[in-house]
């Protein structure tokens, strides 16, 4: 961990230099940072480490925060973002909250006004630690330059261990200037932090093995914990040994190969019919690194109502929070699965169970109208999958219908290739997160599948892609509407449009009186011209025959490339279990 420091060990060093040296010591090679008055000394220090840390300048602090998330989600390493005090810091609140809900290891460093004026409503002063208290895993206001090296150690430790999460360090400007002789190995002071990964007891693993052996209709419900604990191989082995079908949460996609015959795809509100039927019929539900989110369970009391529930989870507060676990194992998941694989014996006979599932899969696959004359959004994603499935692409999304369709139609074979804001579901996530992924994987194919509402929320990051040489692709499914809200309006509010049309208010669509297709001259904004203005290449397609050639052109492009696909807004994400309801309320069409 300790790389050779760039300054002599015993020389007095400024707080800012200690901080940056600590980043280097912890293996940080990229920082997404937007400077301002209070963080100037930190940026000055970063220039002194130019050969070891690349600073990527986003065009909005929120973009920087999501780019750091893209870096973290695609690598498993800590993503680092930096902003100045006041508005810079508050612009990080959304990425931090997002990281907390999806358990993403993130380190946010904010400049703060000088210690001497804290609490006086000074220029660009915000008590950011107070603001982010409930949305971070931990947080620090540095009050003494002597503490910088220790706090950095603690922050990296807390962000990455146990259930990962975001940590914020607020650094007053005078602390950045003050000097001391740093001790990069200063002992951590975390008496309340259970750093040791809790490990399952042998009898718990034996009991799980017994229950699996006795199960007739078992289902594995795999979540983000499979990915963050690095347990995908162990899960794969368990499934090969037992034949238990696997359904995944949004965060769990890629934790088990989506194209495996035993994959049931995603479960929950917009999950597959067969996954939801399987969970409903299961006699044993094995939750691995999951939190029984309401988008998964619907009505909790009826979720997996016939099953004994097993919950393997590293965060004790998740156990019995929503759903009572008949067998709760609080442990690192990778350890549990590795131990389980040593002793596991398959259930006696799953033939009937597999047969039943095969029927459900055959009767109700994800489907859309193949005869539609234009391009349906599902078709565009399916085509993208067809053309990129062997290229180990990273697929990032915004939030909304396009995100759900991508989760349904893109089959992820490997973990950390699916990058999507799941718990907080933050629109505007896609483009900046894609940039972070590309920064972490300079040769990778990175594609943001986005919606017009989401893309516009952080469109300034077009500039980052161009200027920082991060040539990502965006496949924009443009329907001129907030499609997911439109869907809910259609289903639950008599199709009354409540500010879900994204064009000018004098268009008939604004009050729900469009003719069904958006005429070419009504598209607003002109995303292709916007993209070109930022130095991107771009192309728009509306006819089915043009889609595949345009996708190929996008994939072949060296530059950042925007492919706009004009799609109808009347499509609904199906199947759907309305919020708080059960599998018996499942809408198929």
């Amino acid at each position: 961990m300790a790389a050779a420091p760039s300054v002599p060990q015993n020389a007095p060093t400024s707080g800012a230099d200690i901080l940056v040296q600590s980043l280097v010591n912890h293996g940080v090679d990229k920082v997404f940072a937007y400077p301002g008055g209070a963080s100037i000394p930190l940026h000055q220090a970063l220039t002194r480490f130019r050969d070891r840390v690349r600073v990527i300048l986003p065009r909005h602090e929120q973009g920087g925060g999501f780019a750091a998330q893209g870096y973290a989600r695609s690598t498993g390493r800590i993503g680092v973002c930096m902003a100045t005090s006041g508005p810079g810091a508050t612009n990080l609140v959304t990425p931090l909250t997002d990281a907390k809900l999806d358990s993403v290891p993130l380190l946010a460093i904010t400049g703060q006004v000088g210690s001497q004026v804290i609490g006086t409503d000074a220029f660009q002063e915000t008590p950011i630690v107070e603001v982010v208290r409930s949305v971070t895993k931990h947080h620090y206001l540095v009050t003494n330059v002597e503490d910088v090296a220790r706090i950095m150690r603690e922050a990296f430790h807390v962000a990455a261990t146990g259930r990962p999460g975001p940590v914020l360090i607020d650094v007053p400007k005078n602390i950045s200037f003050q000097q001391c002789v740093p001790d990069y190995n200063a002992p951590m002071r975390l008496p309340g932090y259970k750093a040791i990964q809790e490990q399952a007891k042998p009898e718990e693993i034996e009991k799980l093995a017994e229950w699996i052996r006795a199960a007739k209709r078992p289902v594995i419900y795999a979540g983000g914990g499979v990915v963050s604990s690095g347990a995908t191989e162990e899960l794969h082995r368990l499934v090969e040994k037992t034949g238990i079908p696997v359904t995944m949460t949004m965060m769990g996609l890629g934790g088990f190969p989506g194209d495996h015959p035993l994959s049931l795809d995603m479960l929950g509100m917009h999950g597959s019919v067969y996954a939801n039927y399987a969970v409903d019929n299961a006699d044993l539900l094995i939750g691995l690194g999951v939190r029984f989110d309401d988008r998964v369970t619907g009505k909790v009391s009826e979720f997996a109502g016939r099953a004994k529930v097993v919950h393997v989870e590293i965060d004790p507060s998740e156990i019995n929070k929503i759903k009572h676990a008949d067998l709760a194992i609080c442990s690192d998941l990778k350890y549990v699965l590795a131990e389980l694989n040593r002793i596991i014996q398959p259930p006696e006979d799953l033939v009937e169970w597999h047969r039943k599932i095969a029927v459900w899969k055959r009767e109700d696959p994800f489907r859309y109208n193949l005869d539609y004359p234009g391009i349906l959004p599902q078709h565009a994603i399916h085509e993208l999958y067809r053309l990129t499935k062997d290229r180990d692409a990273y697929i990032v999304t915004g939030v909304g219908q396009h995100q759900m369709w991508t989760a349904q139609y893109y089959k992820f074979r490997r973990p950390r290739r699916w990058i999507s804001s799941s718990g907080l579901a933050t629109m505007g996530f896609g483009l900046p997160a894609a940039l972070g992924v590309r920064a972490a994987h300079p040769d990778a194919l990175v594609i943001d599948v986005d919606g017009d509402g989401s893309l516009l929320m952080n469109i300034q990051e077009f500039a980052t892609a161009y200027c920082e040489k991060l040539p990502v692709k965006v496949m924009l499914l443009n329907n001129m509407h907030l499609g997911m809200v439109v869907q809910w309006e259609d289903r639950f509010h008599a199709a009354n449009r409540g500010h879900t049309y994204l064009g000018p208010i004098d268009h008939p669509e604004a009050i729900g009186q469009g003719i069904g297709v958006t005429p070419q001259d009504r598209y607003y904004p002109d995303f292709i011209t916007v993209a070109k203005g930022f130095g991107w290449r771009g192309r728009s397609v509306v006819e089915k025959k043009d889609l595949a050639p345009a996708l190929k052109e996008m994939l072949a492009a060296e530059e950042p490339y925007l492919l706009q696909v004009q799609v109808p807004y009347q499509e609904h994400v199906l199947p759907m279990i309305p919020a708080g309801m059960t599998v018996r309320d499942l809408i198929k069409d």
Partner: protein, 165 residues
């Protein structure tokens, strides 16, 4: 059910804010909260009284333990323990009533800590019920002001004697 939770926390700025914010944002109701330093200046002790069923209490305890600056959490209600409240109460005390108030204070083993021409200030400690009984007895005299600390509690030694509260 009523639970007394005792939490040992790092004595650093913001811990109280973090804990009270967490409890509020998750909708837990706190009847009483007392905070003070311990024998170790690096650690503080917080004592909460929370009302809720076992499921709620399990979550309160786990969510508290999850806060990085919280070192240890114990639900001591199920153990043999001593609970105390401290109260300062100011009561109207014209010369003719002082003897009555003073006698009641003695019975409750309180102390008169301030005397002015118009009123008396009394210090009294004990279990919640005792404190509340004393408040009721003082009501007819005219209560000017009441300040209470909130509950503090400690588990008894192994011998586990009788509560003299």
């Amino acid at each position: 059910m009523r639970h007394v939770i005792s939490a040992l926390v790092q004595n650093v700025p913001g811990v109280l804010s973090h804990i009270s914010g967490m409890l509020a944002s998750r909708g837990y109701n706190i009847d009483s909260l007392a905070v003070g330093e311990t024998e170790d200046p690096q650690l503080s002790r917080m004592t909460f009284v929370v009302v809720g069923d076992n499921k709620v209490l399990e979550q309160v305890r786990k969510q508290l333990e999850k806060i990085v600056t919280v070192v240890r959490v114990d639900d001591i209600s199920s153990q043999n323990h001593v609970e105390r409240d401290l109260m300062l109460i100011k009561v109207s005390a014209p010369p003719g009533k002082r003897r009555d108030i003073s006698e009641l204070t003695d019975i409750f083993r309180g102390r008169i800590v301030d005397v002015s021409p118009e009123d008396l200030m009394i210090e009294i400690s004990g279990q919640e019920k005792k404190i509340e009984a004393f408040i009721e007895l003082m009501r007819p005299f005219g209560i000017q002001e009441v300040v209470r600390t909130g509950r503090i509690a400690m588990v008894r030694g192994n011998a586990g004697g009788k509560d003299e509260g």
